[in-house]
Amino acid sequence: MLQESRVNVLSVKQISIQKPLTEEWMTNPEIHTENFVRAIDPDFRQFISAGDARRLGKLLKRALATSLSALHEGGITNPDAIITGTGFGSVESTELFLEAMIRDGEQMLKPTWFMQSTHNTASSLIAIHTQSYGYNSTYTQKGLSFECALYDAWLQFGLDRISSALVGGHDEMTPEFAGFMRKAGHLLEGEICSEAAVSALLSTREQEGTKALCTVAGVEVLDSPDAETLDHAVRSMIAGNIPDAVLTGMSGNATNDGYYHFLKKTLPEVPLLRYKHLFGVNFSSSAIAFYAAANCLGKGFIPPVLTLTGESVSCSKGILLINAVEGRHYSVILLKPLCGKL
């Protein structure tokens, strides 16, 4: 679908198992060896008063902090749309409420836990905090949640309904749920179970005093595509212009990595990148991919830590993002540098 105006990525902020709200991981990453790692949190008091924070679990604090940070950097106070993706929602509150319900025989339960456990709490919290009355939605499609949110934003831009959107991908973990992730096969052997909160500010307008990171050239999401459909989706996305690299969800697990083998045929000469060895795996991993790629394009280089070869890759044509969710759902996103032509 042709966009009449370019959708630029003004800013993307993250809280993850790398240092929060910085891109230090590009040159000096945290190395994790445990198989369950919780996010490194910033001091939330710089974003949220203690009074406001009293009712917010980790996921919500992170969603709000990354959102406010992205909005501040992008120079927008009230985005036209706030759209969030979360695979499991506020797991901690869900767990607390569920365990209390089972333990105490459905009596004397805390409303705050229940309130936080509904998945749209992050989207609405951001709207309440910024007093934004625009389009607001939440997607819960496992590891595809962020792309579903992005796809909706893409549609809204294309229909000329909005000129800015805050798109987020947020997931938290508890030791219990980390166990569930493995039991259910959402997490495979050798993969690190992690947490992530990512907020991306997109706009079709020029923002004074702000330089955008990159442009979104296309978003596609597919359920169970066969090899031909996948190949076709990639080819139509890149439209003959070979990107600098493909950022994949390869994690070192053979089964998971197999979902990306088609790239050897479709884009044989293009370097493949990976990020899960740094950021771990959770339902918002693909949001981290978006964040990483956008910032690479913003800086004009792809650091060796992301490449399979350990060598830098130049960044002037664009990065293709492929996310395969348990071999079933695929997303294909193309990010291009600002100076690149559509």
Binding site: G87, L98, K110, F114, S124, N136, K142, C148
Partner: protein
């Protein structure tokens, strides 16, 4: 221009406390019969709360669907399958037609009915791992859809009580943007102990039958159900030679940005959602023949929504009613369950009654209490307002 591309509705399916399927639902609406009563299927200590349960056990639903006993299935998915089956038959869609279609599902509880039952097993042993897989909302949508074939795109919207309405709106957007020609959109939600207790902790459940827009209202009754609409582009309708049964002529989405569980006193989010829907459809308030209100029966919603409607319609208030005293509050599914009821009203020429209402509010609307059989409705505004201020409105229009 893509924006004005018409969105046809070519079929739908519905399951709720007032009926399994369109015909039973219609019969209940025309007989003014509530489906709310004592808890029968959910195993909970809180039997003091009237609820609108679908009058089928999980096993009975599995039998109807031909699902082998022992196959992992959650109640939300089972209800979804029943409604989806009816919708696809209604629109004459076969397996092959789904390959290029999208399935957009609204749910917030997902597989929680099984998770809350087996949570201890999830932790202590490996006997119920298939239900860990079905816990999250996305998996619930897949479980529902996979029975019927492979879609090109599946996603799940969780915006609490506006989930299904937002799914339908997203479907409209996909068709208008040329991203799909056929979209099946709606939602499903079963009653779980989790949210029954959750709503109880917020103290917004009524121990009596709920009374939307009544001065004595004291809270809502939970319901459950599922409904899906089949949305199609003009090209698809022509190509397949099917006849639209209604049109999705507009929709609006806004955030109240006020509080996580309460609506603003002046109903700003509701007002914006309804206004945006009207603007989207190119209609004026005077063009609306009936408003299917969100009308939960809570002191807060009904005054907030009333204020919003008064702001929008002024002196010229069309008939308004809430069906939640018949179906109960079907939460995430309410947007599509009630949209389906609106289509029944359009097709059969009646105005749903606000069952059980007696006392006018000082600061609210007076709801419709007459069926008005054989009336001709042209445009219906259907509201769905969720926690967190996720407010959405749909406009359903009769075909000629």
């Amino acid at each position: 221009m893509a924006q004005n591309r018409s969105v046809s509705i070519t079929g739908f399916g519905i399951v709720s406390a007032i009926g399994v399927g369109k015909q039973e639902t219609l019969d209940s609406l025309l007989s003014n019969r509530t489906g709310i009563g004592r808890l029968k299927y959910l195993k909970t200590v809180h039997t003091e709360f009237p609820v609108g349960e679908v009058k089928l056990s999980d096993e009975e639903m599995e039998r109807i669907l031909g699902i082998a006993p022992g196959t992992p299935a959650t109640r939300t998915a089972l209800m979804g399958m029943l409604a989806l089956h009816e919708a696809l038959s209604d629109a004459c869609l076969g397996r092959g037609d789904l390959l290029q279609a999208a399935f957009l599902n609204g749910t917030t509880v997902g597989g929680m009915d099984k998770s809350e039952q087996y949570y201890t097993d999830f932790i202590e042993n490996d006997t119920r791992n298939e239900y860990i897989k079905s816990h999250d909302c996305g998996s619930c949508s897949e479980m529902t859809a996979d029975r019927f074939g492979r879609f090109r795109y599946i996603t799940t919207i969780s915006t609490a009580c506006s989930s299904a309405a937002n799914a339908i709106a997203l479907g409209g957007d996909m068709i208008r943007a040329g991203r799909a020609d056929i979209v099946v959109a709606g939602g499903s939600e079963c009653i779980t102990k989790f949210h029954l207790n959750g709503f109880n902790s917020l103290m917004i459940l009524d121990r009596e039958l709920c009374r939307p827009f009544d001065a004595t209202r004291a809270g809502l009754n939970l319901g459950e159900g599922a409904a899906y609409l089949v949305l199609e582009s003009d090209e698809s309708v022509r190509k397949r030679g099917v006849k639209p049964i209604a049109l999705l002529s507009g929709y609006g989405n806004a955030c109240d940005a006020y509080h996580q569980t309460a609506s603003s006193p002046d109903g700003e989010g509701a007002y914006l959602a309804m206004s945006r829907a009207l603007a989207d459809a190119g209609l004026a308030p005077a063009d609306i023949d009936y408003v299917n209100a969100h009308g939960t029966g809570t002191p807060n919603n009904d005054v907030s929504e009333s204020q919003a409607m008064i702001r929008l319609f002024g002196e010229n208030m069309p008939p308004v009613s809430s069906v939640k005293s018949m179906t109960g509050h079907t939460t995430s599914a309410s947007g599509s369950v009630e949209a389906a009821i609106c289509i029944l009203a359009l097709r059969n020429g009646f105005v749903p009654v606000n069952y059980g209402w007696t006392n006018p509010m000082d600061d609210g609307i007076v709801p419709n209490m007459e069926l008005k059989p054989s009336c001709r409705l042209r445009n219906i505004l259907c509201n769905a307002f969720g926690f967190g201020g996720n407010d959405s409105s749909l406009i359903l229009t009769a075909t000629d």
